[in-house]
Amino acid sequence: MNKLSIFIAIAAIIIIGFFWLNNQKNDESLGSKERVVHEINYAQIKVFDPVYIALDQGYFDDEGLVLNLKGETFGGPQALMATASGDVDAGIAATTAIINAVAAGVNVKGILDVQSSMNDSALMKWYVLEDSIIKNPNDLRGKKIGVNTLGASFHYTVIQYLKDNNISENEVEFLAVPHGNLEQALRAKQIDVAGMIDPFSEIAYDRGGLRILFTAMDVLGENQFSLIFMSERKMLNDPEAVRKFSRAYKRAVDFINNNPEQAAEIIANIFEVDKKYISQHKFQPEAQVREDDINYWLEFMKSQSVPGLEDLTVDGIGTNEFNQ
């Protein structure tokens, strides 16, 4: 065997070994009989999340569940990726992001309500400058609309709004702008409309010079658009931890419903903003996953020709199994 052959063989062994080890990690995580530890690694995103309330009030401790907040992701897709890699077990994501992840083979399911547009709590709102010429939907033709991510709740809600008003999405221009930059982009007239959520929406509105063009309630009515998701790995290996998580979470939701001021203060401390910028969030009864709303988003994405959704079903995306 000459030196070249040896080198090739070693290189091949190293690379294949890498893939094999990576695959082993996934196999072990899914099916092996690991010692059950009532612990959940949670990908935190700085949004109004009842998990923060549950931590603050000690609900996880009461359940004997260790909840580890992991890192700080920018959004649901990153949290889902971290779950796919095995680093975390749960997080928050838009229903649309969960659908994309499940379609791509990420083994997760939505298990609890976290963001729903309801009366007095529209959450998703679209703003224009106060002196903007945009007064009604027809004025949106040829305009730039800033949303946090393309292919997600804000984006799709606008498309529905346009459809409802007989405007094609090709008649507007969508730009992906992070939440933190939307207000600035709007005020600098880089975009004409900004889709925002609290605290960004409340901070921007409080500064003045903006008006609300429409809200998610105007377009979708009451609609659940974000869920707490859990990895199937965790649901399979430690269902008791998932139930404990659900129970603590629901207690936190009850706390928020009964003590909105106090809840806002807790969240405001985490965001390091004034409490007045925290919107009132409302939740589905018992924080249940609404199958109708999952179906709505799934069908909407199919109508947008999003690939890979043909075999997906509602019960493959969300479940109330651990929320009984």
């Binding site: 695959n23 996934n26 897709p77 702008v177 930059n181």
Partner: protein
Amino acid sequence: MKRSFILSRLKSLLWNNFIILILAFCWLLAGYLGLNNEVFIPTLTEVLINTFNLLQTEKFWGHILSSLGVIFSGFFLSFIVAMPIGVIMGSFSRMNAALRNFIELIRPLSPLALYPLFIYLFGIGFMPKLIIVFWVSWIPLLFNIITGVQRVNEDYLRMAKTFGATRKQILKEIILPAITPWIITGMRLSIGSSLLVIVAAEMIGSNSGIGFFILNASYTFRIVNLYSGILVIAIIGILINSFFLWWEKNIKIYNNKIKL
């Protein structure tokens, strides 16, 4: 003769791309054996087929041309800024001393760390992307121009002055031709950084560009698209780098012929 030439070229090509071929082979093999994590690592075949299909679409070419447009605009801007400053700094040691420290101060500032500032100053869209490409391009180019000017053969300059050449003539007939290889090298060094930053820059406030395409692919879990975007970036980098290498080589051949 022709056959041995072809074989020799083939051998050279294989050897120069040995590591790439080994990695590609291992990736192919891992896919064939089902060893890859299907969520994060599609097979090489899937990536190649997907890339080929994307290159048939106008939309994908729109993303490529959008990124290239920003890169070449940024390059052009960096050239028109770096060129006069570099020639002045290279020609006059006092100007070099006056400006050098300031340039060394701003040189290590990470362009990606500055990007949020660029957005505040220039808003979202084309401008901050142009500025960030300019930022990473102009300093390597500047230093190459300065070095090139300083390395111009003193004998040529003295001879030109002796024959009564004006400053403009010296610049045009001696300095510019002499520093051309240095400029090309500076551009070649800048291109890798430009590709890096443009991909990151397009992740904010964009709806076009390869960076936007890659980010959107990751957000929507179209992982094979993500790999295709990365592959296309790599190919663009190789093609542009090869072009500059070819240009550099031909300029050197031309200069050597002039010397003879």
